[in-house]
Symmetry: C2
Subunit: 83 residues, 2 copies
């Protein structure tokens, strides 16, 4: 098996993983056990990955971090709103 598939699986899993969190948070509006600092730092970090991906002109980095950035921002916004 080509090891590159681990890279594709990794990128897909870490990106897609935020979907169930977004869905749960939108549905319940419950953000009590979620750390504000985690989502603040993580969203900023993903934004840096996106900038770095644009600099490298790397499409998978741009797509994965663009999608993750949108989802992490949503959870961050809901955390700020609902506390």
């Amino acid at each position: 098996m080509d090891a590159t598939w681990f890279g594709f699986a990794a990128a897909t899993l870490t990106t897609v993983s935020f979907l169930p969190q977004v869905w749960r948070t939108l549905r319940t509006r419950d953000t009590k056990s979620i750390s504000l600092w985690m989502y603040a730092l993580f969203t900023l970090g993903v934004l840096c990955w996106l900038v770095y991906g644009i600099y490298l002109q790397d499409l998978p980095m741009m797509l994965a971090n663009g999608a993750t950035g949108i989802m992490a921002s949503l959870v961050l916004g809901l955390k700020i709103k609902h506390g």
Copy 2:
């Protein structure tokens, strides 16, 4: 400014971001608003990044994903335990 710094900032931020979540969850044992599926898929994804980093013999990938993997597993374990 060298754009590589965006890469370092990105790796540091997305790794370090899990610390406040681990700390909060260990302290409160409250995992109600955290998605089990998010942490299951994310931990598996980080494990794939780690394997891919080992394959590429890339030390930053190994270190960042090793650290993130430990923290994400901790949150996942606490979620499974406390529901």
